[in-house]
């Protein structure tokens, strides 16, 4: 019989060996690696070629929560929502073939919106590669243009190192999606695995440079001499976790700041220097004054065409300072006079140090003047409509009044998205989740599920159009099964509204296939045991919204809004930002 002392010694010895090596399958090594990376939630869907990983997952239920989505696209959008609200890497599992190809839209979306993801796909046995085996598809090559990095594992011994690299690449530098394709034999292969070591250096990869002070100085010099400086900020501020540094910079320099839709919320909506939204459906002042400022300071944004409008008439009078972590973005669309390559978490404090304290009162007053015009002509009629028809804007106003700017707003793509970004109030960073670069209809519902897992203590409202909702409604099943308390708000105008708006304005009102009919959304929700209601009169709107927001668990509210309302202001395609139209 062992003595107590011997038992302890034996246990210690065992612990020591397991800390050194562990013997198991590639699948187990993968799951251990995920746990070492701090992963606790996985969005996925099983299938033949990933079964060994799912078999191993069976024993990890106490450490890893797996959310069974209803479609792999829903899974990856959910992981995106999770990454965006939590600031962590989203993790997705999918099988080979159709499972993997269903990820492509989400990968493209995450790539263009710099969302850190690690996707694991199963693959047929290595000896079957290239034989057109059942559910074999060339995932690596299909996903190459839409991933920051991808890799096919055919030998289990590679798994820990490749996984560590994947996480490092996904979240460092300019974040992005990474895909690891693991053949079934590697998932099953039994090996002795060394302890998991996180990756923090790859010789061919420079996530961020050492900041050159010279460029900071040049930038500061321009800023200090400026009479009408203007800051444009994007998601880079949020991805760099530099919200406070950014606030300190604009507060010291007194420079008005406008945001891209992915940068929204990096500073509170009500901040006195927050002058609003850039771009096609952005605010009046920021667009017009882009072509009046003398120094334009772009921070963590990439001058997307929806922001710049016509490039050859974009801020030609201004000196351009561009702060970005990705050197490929500097000079890509807009030539910078001073490019500051670096992580804005590092560059912003350096810049703040060198800029003079200032207040650009006169210049700010210009923004206020334009804002007043926009309020009179666009915002007030949108938020306080006088006709019987409800507007999307008034729904947002009511949400703002109820939630006070503390909710996470997830949107789909289209008119409701622009209205939500324009009017939603945000007090906190990582509160606006939207598909910006790719403009993926169907993003909203699954992304909201992930957003809720990423920020479980927050109210998550998914604002979705009647068109977009019908692209991924199957994820109601995920909500039903796992109880994600997502508030689903469908703004139903019985049209594919944004396309209809363009057809009205630019195609002589030839409404070509934008007239979309919908099922009874409330009944559909009910079929999934999700409560809900529809409102079609203003008198019921407020109570219905309060019911939705205060409801314990998920809830679906369908609001019938005016059929042919347009989103304004608008910079028509091919026009300069200063040619923005108020109607």
């Amino acid at each position: 019989m062992e003595t107590a002392q011997e038992t302890i010694q034996a246990a210690e010895a065992k612990a020591e060996t397991s800390a050194k090596t562990f013997k198991g399958t590639g699948s187990q090594a993968l799951l251990n690696g995920l746990i070492s990376e701090g992963v606790h939630t996985i969005f996925g869907y099983p299938g033949g070629a990933i079964m060994p990983i799912y078999d191993a997952l069976y024993d990890y239920a106490d450490q890893l929560t797996h959310i069974l989505v209803r479609h792999e696209q829903g899974g990856i959008h959910a992981a995106q929502g999770f990454a965006r609200t939590s600031g962590e890497v989203g993790v997705v599992f999918a099988t080979s073939g159709p499972g993997a190809t269903n990820l492509v839209t989400g990968l493209a979306d995450a790539q263009i919106d710099s969302t850190p993801l690690v996707c694991i796909t199963g693959q047929v046995f290595a000896h079957l590669l290239g034989t057109d085996a059942f559910q074999e598809t060339d995932v690596i090559n299909i996903t190459t243009p839409v991933t920051k990095w991808n890799y096919q594992v055919t030998d289990a011994k590679e798994i820990p190192e490749v996984l560590a690299k994947a996480f490092y690449i996904a979240k460092s530098g300019r974040p992005g999606p990474v895909l690891i394709d693991i053949t079934k034999n590697a998932q099953l292969q039994v090996e002795e695995f060394a302890p998991y070591i996180k990756c923090n250096h790859i010789r061919s990869y420079r996530p961020k440079p050492k900041v050159r002070v010279q460029y900071i100085e040049e930038a500061a010099e321009l800023i200090n001499a400026a009479k009408k400086p203007f800051v444009l900020f994007g998601q880079g501020v949020i991805l760099g976790k530099a919200e406070e540094d950014f606030k300190a910079f604009i507060e010291k320099s007194g420079i008005p700041a406008a945001w891209t839709i992915l940068g929204e919320g990096a500073i509170p909506t009500v901040h006195p220097l927050n002058v609003g939204m850039l771009g096609m459906h952005g605010n009046y002042g920021p667009n017009v004054l882009t072509n009046e400022c003398d120094v334009l300071i772009a921070i963590g944004m990439r001058f997307d065409d929806r922001v710049t409008g016509r490039l050859d008439k974009y801020a030609k009078q201004a000196k351009i300072i561009h702060l970005d972590i990705d050197p490929a973005e500097i000079d890509k669309n807009v030539k910078a006079d001073v490019g500051v390559w670096g992580d804005c978490k590092e560059t912003l404090p350096l810049l703040t140090n060198l800029v003079n304290a200032n207040k650009h009162e006169e210049w700010l007053a210009k923004f206020r003047d334009y804002n007043q015009q926009e309020i009179d002509q666009v915002i007030t009629p949108e938020l306080y409509p006088t006709s019987d028809e409800m507007t999307m804007g008034e729904v947002l106003r009511n949400i703002n009044e109820i939630c006070g700017g503390d909710a996470i707003i997830v949107t789909d793509v289209g008119q409701h998205q622009m209205v939500a970004c324009r009017y939603a109030k945000f007090n906190h960073t990582r509160s606006n989740v939207t598909s910006g670069g790719l403009g993926t209809m169907g993003f909203g519902l699954p992304a909201a599920i992930g957003a809720k897992y990423g920020a479980p203590d927050k109210t998550v409202i998914a604002i979705i159009g009647d068109g977009g909702f019908q692209m991924t409604p199957q994820e109601l099943g995920t909500i039903m099964q796992f109880g994600a308390a997502v508030k689903i708000l469908i703004l139903n105008n019985r049209f594919l509204g944004m396309v209809r708006q363009w057809q009205q304005l630019f195609h002589d009102k030839r409404y070509s296939f934008v007239n979309i009919t919908s099922p009874d959304f409330v009944a559909l929700a009910k079929a999934y045991y999700i409560e809900g209601q529809m409102v079609d009169t203003r008198a019921n709107l407020r109570v219905a919204l309060e019911t939705m927001i205060n409801h314990e668990g998920s809830y679906l509210l369908e609001v019938m809004v005016g059929r042919e309302n347009n989103v304004f202001p608008m910079v028509p395609q091919g026009c300069s930002v200063s040619e923005i139209r108020l109607k």
Binding site: I140, S204, Y205, P209
Partner: protein, 212 residues
């Protein structure tokens, strides 16, 4: 030897829009799939790759691509940044033809009877710098190493005499002022990027600098 300063491509003309031949040299990890990752950067923008060579470099395990395209300086610079952005790419250089030493190899298969009868082979060998690689009863294979116009010239010369087969290799090039990649690699392998590694001068002085 401080040659690194001169290996930067210096555009001689302020005309950034004008197209000319550029040689893009990529140092990268030797990994499956990387060629595709690089190639799609061109095809995504509908840019034709005129010549692409992939080979070993002076350093074991580091692969080198030589890519030739005809594009404007502006476009080439952006392409180079997109390529260098790929995780497994270490470094991208781009240079015009005058900044590099380059060669292409061409092989010509001709009928031995035809050639023996009608051509002064000796003249051929001397004038075009050709060498006979194989001489058989039925055919002869010549090889020429040189610039495009040199290999083209022999095609023209042989065309009247039944040129059975012709093939030209991709271009290989060496940057005149390059000190090679050994020192650079040490910087890359260093844990913290050193000063040398941070070549972001180009950001403000883009037209003077070749690299990202």
């Amino acid at each position: 030897m401080n040659v690194e300063n001169n290996i930067l491509h210096q555009p001689t003309t302020p005309d950034f829009e004008g197209k000319q031949e550029y040689n893009i040299i990529v140092y990268a990890e030797n990994r499956i799939g990387l060629l595709n990752r690089i190639a799609i950067i061109f095809s995504k923008r509908k840019i034709n790759i005129e010549s692409l060579n992939s080979s070993a470099s002076e350093i074991e395990g580091i692969h080198r691509f030589n890519i030739v395209i005809t594009e404007s300086y502006e476009v080439v610079r952006k392409l180079a940044r997109q390529i260098e952005k790929q995780v497994e790419v270490l470094k991208v250089y781009y240079n015009t033809d005058d900044e590099i030493i380059w060669q292409e190899l061409a092989l010509y298969k001709v009928s031995t009877d035809e050639i023996a009868e009608k051509v002064t082979v000796e003249r051929l060998l001397r004038q075009y710098g050709a060498s006979a690689v194989v001489i058989r009863k039925d055919y002869t294979v010549f090889a020429v190493t040189g610039h495009r116009e040199e290999t083209d010239a022999l095609v023209k010369a042989l065309e009247p005499y039944e040129l059975i087969e012709f093939v030209r290799s991709a271009r290989v090039a060496i940057i005149k002022d390059s000190a090679g990649f050994h020192e650079k690699l040490k910087e890359f392998e260093a844990f913290e990027p050193g000063d040398e590694l941070v070549e972001n001068e180009f950001l403000a002085k883009g037209d003077k600098i070749f690299t990202m």
